[in-house]
């Protein structure tokens, strides 16, 4: 199989969902069952991605496939010569893995929705949107350049917008979709400026070419600081898409969309795209940039976890959990744990979409009830869903034998090693605290939903296990949440093929002086060494391995224990606890008041400003014009009735003067033609005074 075929296949995988989208949009009226085509196309797509995965990993495991073409040609630009903008495809290992994940989950969601969305009046439209989403996501994954990523990035935003607002009759849904799009745009703005800097400096958008030029010492505006800034600015795109603080606010609201959509977009794929982007630009991140990323990620994960603890909406808990886990991944990128970040991205994609689909199953069974306080005891009614939930929850809590354990442990170890090397101990602190909280709130969720007595008897009675098309994806994803797919040894992820063979940390290309010490290479310039980090780092990782293992297990177990203590065995009354810790509780329940803060500052500020400006426009800018018109009118009044007013005024003034001089008041009448003549004489005098060559 040669590489051109791989490129072609990837292009086909890209275009098939788009084709499905167009097909459904245009013909949905005539063929109401057209959504089946969408599903069919996705199944084909999935198989193509499997083929790609297999072909790449078996034949080209250490060779990247590049393909590019000229999109815009500026011709012979003065000074710069021939300038053109290229687009292209880069197929490396993480690409095919991502492709596989995206297509798989997308396919599963397609199938799952068949039942979940049944009876919706815009059923066809739904599948069309899923199609365009898949298309955009694949676009991001296979892009070899920033511009193309940006293009598909925005398209992903669009599809997310369409899907969140799918039930646009609900105001909350329409609001959420708008919020998601605009919040994302804030991040994209930074990313866009970052891209602008890159293009201004390197005249290309292609990663390889950019990296090569950086390693050759070409820096944006010739400064390291700008390189850092560029990295951070591009990362801002990831902040938006991956819902990192301070742009995390849209993701919980995005739960207004259909649950399968949440599973696909807002847990597994789109939100992971931010992390994916960070990984793509990993090589050009300076130490400062990485530190910023790590802090953002660490703080986000902590923030989201604290919020997740108190939420009652099943999907919201999962949403904050997603934010938190994304924070983990971002932190992993920041601390240099490239492999673990990607690994966690994959594992998280499976178990989190599993959780979402599971919650969808629950919601479906409960007739679109999402409040956990209305649930309980469902495990008897929905055993498969329950099982899926348990496995996934264990995975997310990092309990051994699950995939989550492997990846989470790795990235916590990475953060610990990083702290060890650089002294930033806050990051692992966040990491471990989050591990504790994650286990707690996940099992809180499981217990509140599936254990105990049903709190809403009526709904409970109607609940039943979901039909096969909904259960099948759960099963598939549950199996994927187990360790054996990734490594033979359930406690040593680094021994697995995933980390040891498939995914490698790329070398940094930034100038030596801007790297962390542990990332500095011995030789200047491009090195042939396959090792991205110094040995020191390997040592630190090794050192961090065991403490992490122990600590995370301990904390995970503790979290689960607490959950059971409070919610299952009722040893501690949660309400009482909430009452005791009321400020903290409320702070968490209200999501740290971030939304309120934004509402009060940026949103209302902008709206107020816009209102003021519109008044300004109406009264001042236009007013000047109208004022000119007004002045013109005044002048014209003056001259238009020049005769009358000026003359009368003149006469009156003289009358006034004469009265003043004691000459007596005399009623003066203005004869018209004669006043004209007086004026003529008057002006003659004036002219005389002016023009006499005295």
């Amino acid at each position: 199989m040669n590489d051109i075929i791989l490129v072609n296949i990837s292009i086909i995988t890209l275009l098939l969902p788009l084709f499905g989208f167009g097909l459904i949009i245009i013909f949905s009226k005539r063929f109401p069952k057209l959504y089946m085509a969408g599903i069919g196309l996705l199944i084909i797509n999935f198989f193509l991605s499997v083929v790609l995965l297999y072909a790449k990993l078996s034949n080209y495991i250490s060779q990247d496939i590049n393909f590019q073409f000229t999109w815009i040609d500026f011709g012979n630009v003065p000074v710069f010569g021939n300038v053109h903008i290229d687009l292209g495809i880069k197929i490396d290992n993480i690409t095919v893995i991502m492709l596989f994940v995206v297509n798989l989950i997308s396919m599963l969601v397609h199938i799952y929705s068949l039942e979940y969305m049944k009876g919706d009046k815009r059923f066809n439209r739904y599948y069309a949107y899923l199609g365009i989403f898949t298309f955009s996501m694949i676009g991001i994954v296979i892009a070899n350049n920033l511009l193309m990523i940006y293009i598909f990035w925005e398209l992903v935003g669009l599809s997310s917008y369409l899907l969140i607002g799918f039930w646009y009759e609900k105001k909350s849904a329409a609001d959420a979709s708008k919020k998601a799009f605009i919040t994302n745009r804030v991040g994209d703005l930074g990313m866009f400026i970052g891209i602008l800097i890159v293009f201004t400096t390197y005249h290309t958008f292609t990663f390889d070419s950019i990296f090569e030029q950086i390693s050759n010492g070409v820096l944006p505006f010739d400064s390291n600081a700008w390189l850092t800034a560029t990295g951070i600015l591009i990362f801002m795109g990831a902040v938006g898409k991956s819902a990192q603080f301070p742009l995390h606010v849209w993701l919980p609201d995005a739960m207004e969309g259909p649950t399968p959509v949440s599973a696909l977009i807002h847990s597994a794929t789109m939100v992971a795209a931010g992390v994916y982007l960070s990984l793509r630009i990993f090589a050009m991140l300076t130490a400062d940039a990485m530190l910023v990323i790590a802090v953002v990620g660490g703080f986000t994960s902590f923030l989201a976890a604290t919020i997740a603890i108190t939420q009652n909406d099943i999907k919201r808990v999962l949403a904050y959990s997603t934010v938190s886990q994304l924070g983990y991944m971002v932190m992993a990128v920041g601390v240099g744990a490239f492999q673990y970040a990607f690994f966690h991205l994959i594992t998280h994609a499976f178990f989190k979409s599993n959780l979402f689909l599971g919650s969808g199953s629950v919601i479906h069974a409960m007739h679109h009830e999402q409040d956990m306080r209305e649930m309980g005891g469902l495990r008897k009614k929905m055993p498969i869903t329950y099982a899926a939930f348990i496995v996934s929850s264990l995975a997310i809590s990092g309990i051994p034998l699950t995939s989550g354990f492997l990846s989470k442990d790795g990235l916590l170890a990475g953060s610990l090693a990083f702290a060890h090397l650089t002294g930033h101990w806050l990051l692992p602190t966040f990491g471990f605290l989050v591990a504790l909280m994650t286990a707690f709130y996940m099992f809180r969720l499981v217990i509140m939903t599936f254990h105990g007595e049903p709190r809403n008897k009526e709904k409970y009675d109607h609940a039943h296990e979901s039909p096969f098309v909904m259960v099948l994806p759960l099963i598939v994803l549950t199996t994927l949440s187990l360790f054996f797919w990734y490594t033979p040894n359930p406690v040593a992820p680094e021994q697995g093929w995933f980390l040891s063979e498939w995914v490698h940390t790329p070398e940094s290309v930034v100038p030596q002086e801007t790297r962390f010490d542990f990332m500095k290479t011995e030789t200047e310039g491009v090195t042939e060494s396959a090792v991205a980090f110094s040995e020191e780092y390997e040592h630190a990782m090794h050192w961090a391995h065991i403490p992490t293992l122990v600590l995370s297990l301990l904390l995970g177990g503790l979290g689960i224990l607490f959950a059971f203590l409070i919610y299952h065995w009722r040893k501690i009354d949660p309400d009482e606890l909430a009452e005791k810790l009321k400020p903290a509780y409320l702070f968490s329940l209200n999501k740290w008041y971030v939304d309120e803060f934004y509402e009060a500052t940026f949103i209302s500020g902008t709206l107020k400003l816009s209102y003021l400006l519109s008044l300004f426009d109406k009264y001042v800018v236009d007013g000047i014009v109208n004022g000119t018109a007004y002045v013109t009118r005044v002048i014209s009044t003056i001259s238009g009735i020049f005769d009358k007013y000026i003359i009368d005024g003149f006469v009156n003034f003289t009358a006034f003067l004469s009265g003043l001089l004691g000459l007596g008041f005399r009623r003066l009448q203005s004869g018209r033609i004669q006043t004209y003549l007086v004026l003529v004489i008057f002006s003659l005098i004036i002219l005389l005074l002016f023009f006499e060559p005295f």
Binding site: T632, R633, S636, S639, F691, E692
Partner: protein, 503 residues
């Protein structure tokens, strides 16, 4: 003066003689046919056309007429040159159009038997103007101007028993009498200073120096006041709106074009003949340094166009609005004077030809509407554009042309004026002028707004036009449109008519 030179002189003024003969013939014809006045206009036309033909054929025939080498009057009372011929032609053309204008006018028709007098007086005006434009002696200027004025005083009040007519007439004669008296006083001072009233001799006297500049300035101002009154330049314009509004519309139209043209001709000739020592290679006039002409005329120009335009903004009476507009146009025309160069004069010549077309067109349409609806008020124009689209569209063209927008002839007129200004590097004036034309747009477009945009209060009756009416409008309309796109002939002709008789 011997008889041979008298013959020479008479040969030079054939067009004027024909006009005088026609005048007399009209009187005679009027006496013969007491009841039927149908023939009079045709006789008038005949006289005008023959006169026009003579002007055209004699356009190259230049010379001084009525000169007497023995006395101070050695340059003659008249200087016949192509500049004068151009204006004569313009006057004749305007007169021809006015004859038709009057023929179509209901108010003139209503004067019945007095139509004979109407044409007699009209010819009095024409004759006055014809002599005015080529007069080269201040006394000649004065007398011909009085001939023009006397006839127009009467014509302004020609429609008897209508308040505004007699009022217009009275105002006109008082203002005119004072203005001409003042001018005469100025002339007398010039006579005292230089010992002559002939413009060429004055020039020579001025160049020889030894002139009391203060008195000269004073007398010039007085003379400018007299001429300024004829061209209705601010501040000598006061009579204009009142008289224009009060006079019969055909006379208003005639005054606004022909009388103004004659006034401009004499202003230019006065300055050019009496004060210009030389014309340099690029056509700029070198003036005798006796007076700050440039500033004076600039001030007049600015005041005139600004006041004219601003005052016109508020006028509801169309005739009055057009009166103010004609004041504004006099201001534009003064811009051509102020540059004191051949190109400026050329611009004036071009502008006048165009101004004649568009102004007469506008007045004619106002007349047609007033004759049918009995109103000149702008509010009574509502909806007229729909019931009589021909009138509406033609009026639109004329008004757009008056504004000076392409592709109408008015634009070419303005273009040449601005060309003259910018060539003379008088950008400030140019800016003021263009801003003025923006202001003018407002009141011109206001008419269109009423005709097309405003909803009429009641039902609007269609204005029925005779074929003659339509033909008349079209005759004016076509050149207004064609000259906007292809103006070479006019410009070439104007260019060939820039010659002044020099010493």
């Amino acid at each position: 003066m011997d008889f041979s030179s008298l013959y020479d002189s008479l040969a030079l003024i054939k067009p004027e003689i024909i006009i005088s003969v026609t005048l007399v013939l009209i009187v005679v014809l009027d006496l013969i046919y007491d009841k039927n006045k149908k023939l009079v206009p045709y006789l008038a036309l005949l006289g005008l056309i023959v006169s026009g033909i003579y002007i055209l054929s004699d356009i190259a025939n230049e010379g001084f007429a009525f000169k007497m080498s023995a006395t101070s009057n050695k340059f003659g009372l008249l200087a016949l040159d192509s500049f004068g011929s151009y204006f004569k032609l313009l006057i004749i053309l305007t007169s021809v159009l006015i004859v038709f204008f009057a023929k179509h006018s209901v108010e003139i028709e209503n004067t019945g038997k007095r139509q004979g007098e109407f044409y007699t007086l009209l010819f009095g005006m024409i004759l006055g103007m014809m002599f005015m434009v080529s007069a080269s002696d201040l006394i000649m200027i004065y007398v011909s101007m009085e001939l023009l004025s006397f006839s127009s005083y009467v014509l302004a009040g020609f429609i008897k028993l209508r308040d505004r007519n007699s009022e217009a007439s009275l105002k006109y004669i008082i203002f005119g009498g004072v203005a001409s008296g003042v001018m005469l006083f100025g002339i007398s001072l010039i006579y005292g200073l230089t010992g002559t009233t002939n413009l060429y001799s004055i020039n020579a006297a001025l160049q020889s120096g030894n002139i009391n500049l203060i008195v000269l300035g004073f007398s010039l101002l007085l003379i400018v006041a007299g001429i300024g009154y004829k061209i209705s330049a601010v501040p000598f314009h006061f009579w204009t709106p009142d008289v224009y509004e009060g006079a019969p519309i055909s006379i208003t139209a005639f005054l606004s074009v022909a009388s103004k043209a004659a006034g401009f001709a004499i202003l230019i000739r006065f300055i050019k003949t009496a004060f210009v020592t030389n014309v340099d290679g690029s056509g700029n006039w070198l003036l005798v340094p006796v007076f700050d002409w440039k500033t004076l005329i600039s001030v007049f120009a600015i005041l005139t166009m600004t006041l004219g335009n601003f005052a016109a903004l508020w006028q509801d009476n169309l005739k009055r609005m057009l009166a103010y507009s004609s004041i504004a146009h006099a201001g534009y025309l003064l811009l051509g004077v102020v540059v004191f160069s051949q190109i400026g004069i050329e611009a004036i010549l071009i502008y006048f030809a165009i101004y004649m077309l568009m102004n007469l067109g506008s007045f004619y349409i106002v007349m047609l509407i007033a004759d049918k609806t009995g109103s000149e008020d702008i509010h009574d124009y509502s909806g007229l554009g729909y019931v009589t689209p021909f009138l509406g569209v033609s009026f639109a063209v004329f008004l757009v042309s008056l504004t000076g927008l392409p592709p109408t002839a008015g634009f070419i007129g303005k273009l040449y004026l601005f060309i003259a200004l910018i060539d003379a590097k008088m950008t400030t004036l140019a800016v003021i002028a263009v801003l003025n034309s923006v202001v003018s747009l407002y009141y011109y477009i206001r008419v269109l707004k009423h005709m097309f945009l405003t909803k009429p209060n009641g039902e609007v009756k269609e204005i029925k036009l005779s074929t003659a009416n339509v033909v008349y409008v079209i005759v004016l309309l076509i050149p207004v449109l064609v000259l906007g796109i292809y103006f070479s002939p006019l410009v070439n002709f104007a260019e060939s008519c820039l010659a002044f008789l020099s010493f």
